[in-house]
């Protein structure tokens, strides 16, 4: 026998629970957005003592060349261990990263990890099949981001880094880890951002957004001009 008041009560609890979850998620999302772009404050105070686990997304070709050029100048004592991600179809980037690591870090380079990631869309792929591959790429990106749990993601496009950065945002929102996200727009972009860059900029997704031309900085004032890096 069913008590007439039971069912509505259960329903009420369910709706309160799900409403709380939704509100909680939205509040958390807004909080993350508010803190994005602010320096991460460590428990010990402002000075960061701990090296950061750094995830570097290699975008292939010229993108890889640009970002490795930056990595070369980073103080590895602060950014360690380093993980590199490249597209499955990209045959050169990880080898280039490995070479740089061996030259610069020597024995320390053994701590580095190298991953391959499925791309959401290959050049020339049809839009219908790309829905499936995008979903697959997202799942793969989440798997990698959750297993690596980086403190810092550095990327410079193109689309390969998009699922990785979305996964990074989710890590932040769920409170798993505060992932500082850094985007460097390619030197090839003088006045307009690339599609990936524009998306990150508009969504306020990045903690640091660097551009290499003064005109681009004028058009997108929240970006920081860091000079020509190539």
């Amino acid at each position: 026998m069913i008590n007439e008041e039971d069912e509505p009560a259960v329903m009420r609890w369910w709706s309160i629970l799900s409403l709380t979850l939704v509100v909680g998620f939205v509040v958390r999302l807004v909080t993350v957005w508010m803190f994005t772009g602010h320096p991460p404050v460590t428990a010990k105070g402002l000075r960061n003592q701990r090296p950061l686990k750094t995830l570097i997304v290699l975008g292939s070709g010229g993108h890889t060349a640009e970002i490795l050029h930056i990595v070369e100048k980073m103080n590895f004592k602060n950014y360690s261990p380093r993980c590199y991600i490249a597209a499955v179809t990209d045959n050169h980037s990880l080898a280039k990263a490995k070479r740089l690591e061996e030259e610069k870090a020597g024995d320390d380079s053994k701590q580095c990890r190298y991953y391959r990631i499925y791309r959401s869309r290959e050049v020339g792929q049809s839009y219908i099949t790309s829905i499936g591959t995008t979903l697959f790429a997202m799942v793969h990106a989440f798997y990698l981001a959750f297993s690596i749990q980086p403190d810092l993601i550095i990327c410079n496009g193109p689309g390969t880094c998009l699922p990785v950065c979305i996964a990074g945002l989710v890590l932040k929102v769920l409170g798993v880890r505060w992932v500082v996200m850094v985007y460097v727009e390619s030197i090839a972009r003088v006045r307009k951002l690339s599609l990936t860059g524009l998306l990150f900029y508009k969504l306020h997704l990045m903690d640091q957004f660097y551009v290499q031309w003064p005109k681009l900085q004028q058009n997108f004032p929240r970006a920081q001009y860091v000079g020509r890096l190539m």
């Binding site: 320096p39 991460p40 404050v41 460590t42 402002l46 000075r47 960061n48 950061l52 070709g61 010229g62 060349a65 050029h69 930056i70 070369e72 100048k73 980073m74 103080n75 602060n78 050169h92 810092l152 500082v180 850094v182 460097v184 390619s186 030197i187 090839a188 972009r189 003088v190 006045r191 307009k192 903690d207 640091q208 660097y210 031309w213 005109k215 920081q224 860091v226 000079g227 020509r228 890096l229 190539m230």
Partner: protein, 171 residues
């Protein structure tokens, strides 16, 4: 006549036959020869146009070519002049090697952010720009000695900014 040596022509890994065709026209070869260049090395990329040997012989200029090599540093370093497509990889590799550079913009490409880059760099006198149609004119009128040596900002500027943001003390 003073000889200056080799001209390296590259379309990177792209398809840009118009550039190779423009360079291999008798008028262009004659202009290059007049400027003192003695040979051409061409990276054809995905192009279908193969330059004929006889064109070069007629203008007394050696023409050699290959389809693609991942590392063209040796060609760039030994070139007296580089004629390149507007891809940022080839452009900055040449500029960093401090070689005189003429960038030929592919006018057939839609949404051409590459030409923005070439124009910006030309405005700063790091290189000359041309289209396949204006290449000969550009070669005739360019003054390579007025080009400014390319200098990048050290990437350590970015590394410093990032260190500061993350609260690391400066190295």
């Amino acid at each position: 006549m003073k000889t200056k040596g080799m001209v390296f022509v590259t379309v990177g890994s792209t398809l840009f036959d118009a550039l190779v065709e423009a360079v291999c026209q008798p008028e262009c070869l004659a202009t290059l020869r007049k400027l003192g260049y003695t040979s051409l090395m061409i990276q054809l990329g995905k192009g279908n146009f193969i330059p004929g040997k006889s064109v070069g012989e007629a203008e007394n200029i050696d023409i050699e070519y290959f389809t693609y090599k991942p590392n063209v540093a040796e060609y760039i370093n030994s070139a007296a002049l580089v004629i390149s497509h507007a891809g940022s990889g080839s452009v900055f590799e040449t500029l960093r090697a401090q070689r005189p550079l003429v960038v030929v913009v592919n006018t057939l490409l839609m949404d051409n952010h590459q030409s923005e880059l070439a124009d910006e760099l030309a405005e700063r006198k790091f290189l000359y720009t041309a289209s396949p149609e204006t290449l000969v004119d550009t070669l005739r009128t360019m003054r390579l000695d007025t080009l400014v040596p390319y200098q990048s900002t050290e990437p350590s500027a970015l590394a410093g900014t990032l260190d500061q943001f993350l609260g690391f003390s400066p190295a």
